[in-house]
């Protein structure tokens, strides 16, 4: 890929979604942008870039930015986070607010494995707190990723990365060579296309946000913007889980690390905030 084409992609990604494009990973640009070029009717990535320079069409810009944003994901990725949710976070939430729905958001859900993993856990635990209602939300920048997430349809390869076999046969049905998550589980999740550095003033009232392995791939001002946006979306006492290895140097105002849980940050509860 020509350096000026690479620079243009990096500049668009930075300004539109806050993504940091690693110049050393030329192969990633080729892999991601090849399908965009084909889909948009261009003979090559070079032609796609020429088309972009000529037209500056918003749809084309977003096709490129979304393709570059596509994240690798799998069911129950980083298992410790889900164990912490099952053993600590979900019981705390269920016992703390039995009268109101508990709202959980996978903030960059990609093709949906993370929020579907949470939906499975919530369903498995439903008998413990029959009166508690969990509301699950998945959002992503990429329209295509969201479409796949909403379909709940996964390949045999995808369901074998991290998903225990008992969960597979409990929560999925086999359709030809694919596996589809049960309609009952699919109905528990609401989906929305969302840019985490955009205007999120109407995204409010969450008790727990999963935003793992997102900010580490962003340029600095965007990282801070995402952290601020997520913080503003939390209820008092709400928590946000970043990736265990992610460096959250300056958490949002009021957000403090939770001892003993890597990547987990919390706002003070309403009682403490008032005190």
């Amino acid at each position: 890929m020509k350096p000026d084409d690479r620079d243009l992609v990096a500049q668009l990604c930075a300004s539109r979604s806050g993504q940091k494009i690693d110049p050393a990973k030329d192969y990633l640009l080729e892999t991601r942008l090849g399908p965009v070029a084909r889909r948009e009717g261009f003979e090559s990535i070079a032609d796609l870039m020429t088309g972009l320079r000529t037209s500056r069409e918003e749809r084309l810009i977003w096709a490129i930015v979304e393709a570059m944003a596509a994240g690798d994901t799998s069911f129950f990725r980083d298992r410790a986070a889900f164990e912490h949710f099952r053993l600590v976070l979900a019981p705390e939430l269920a016992q703390g607010r039995p009268d109101q729905p508990i709202r959980i958001w996978s903030a960059a859900c990609a093709t949906g494995q993370e929020i579907h993993s949470l939906a499975m856990l919530v369903d498995d635990m439903a008998g413990q707190w029959p009166e508690v209602r969990f509301e699950l939300y998945g959002s992503d920048l990429s329209e295509r990723a969201l479409e796949k997430a909403q379909s709940g349809l996964y390949t045999q390869f995808e369901v074998q990365r991290g998903l225990p076999i008992r969960s597979l046969i409990r929560h999925f049905e086999k359709v030809d060579d694919m596996w589809v998550i049960s309609p009952q589980l699919r109905q528990t999740i609401r989906w929305r296309r969302l840019n985490l550095i955009g205007d999120m003033s109407r995204v409010r009232g969450f008790d727990l946000i999963f935003c793992r392995n997102v900010i580490s791939g962003m340029i600095e001002p965007a990282r801070q913007r995402v952290i601020e946006n997520l913080t503003a979306s939390l209820n008092p006492g709400g928590k946000v889980l970043f990736g265990a290895d992610e460096d959250v140097v300056t958490p949002g105002e009021g957000l403090r690390p939770v001892d003993g849980a890597l990547g987990l940050f919390a706002l003070p509860s309403a009682d403490r905030a008032a005190a």
């Binding site: 298992r79 074998q160 990365r161 991290g162 225990p164 076999i165 046969i169 086999k174």
Partner: protein, 121 residues
């Protein structure tokens, strides 16, 4: 070092699986069918068995049921590794004592993920 017994009638599959399992740190043994595998287990019980379903002489399910009745036969973790990918087959394998289930084709990433799920890595 923990031992993994690969049971598959395909020499090629055994070779591919051996490489993956050795990379995961297992000492690997091989058997070409369920009967050979059962003999092996009676002399040296492995820590884990990677088990094909369709094999001559004794198939994987018959082996598994036999293994679980042997003295010490409840110990090894058993992961099926098979082309049988219908829910009914998976259910039957689990009810017979399998711990995890890999649907072929597989690669190193899937095997590593399944071994982790079975608490083996």
């Amino acid at each position: 070092m923990r031992t993994c017994l690969i049971v598959d009638d395909s020499r090629v599959i055994r070779k591919v699986a051996r490489r993956i399992l050795e990379d995961l740190g297992f000492d690997v043994a091989e058997a070409a069918d369920g009967a050979e595998a059962l003999s092996w287990c009676r002399s040296t019980m492995p820590d884990v068995v990677l088990l094909d379903w369709n094999m001559p002489v004794m198939n994987g399910l018959e082996f598994l049921r036999g293994l679980r009745m042997e003295p010490g036969g409840k110990g090894p973790k058993v992961l099926f590794c098979t082309v049988e990918n219908e829910v009914s087959a998976i259910r039957e394998a689990l009810e017979s004592g399998a711990d995890e289930y890999i649907m072929k084709p597989f690669d190193s990433e899937i095997v590593a993920a399944k071994f982790a799920l079975a608490g083996l890595t």
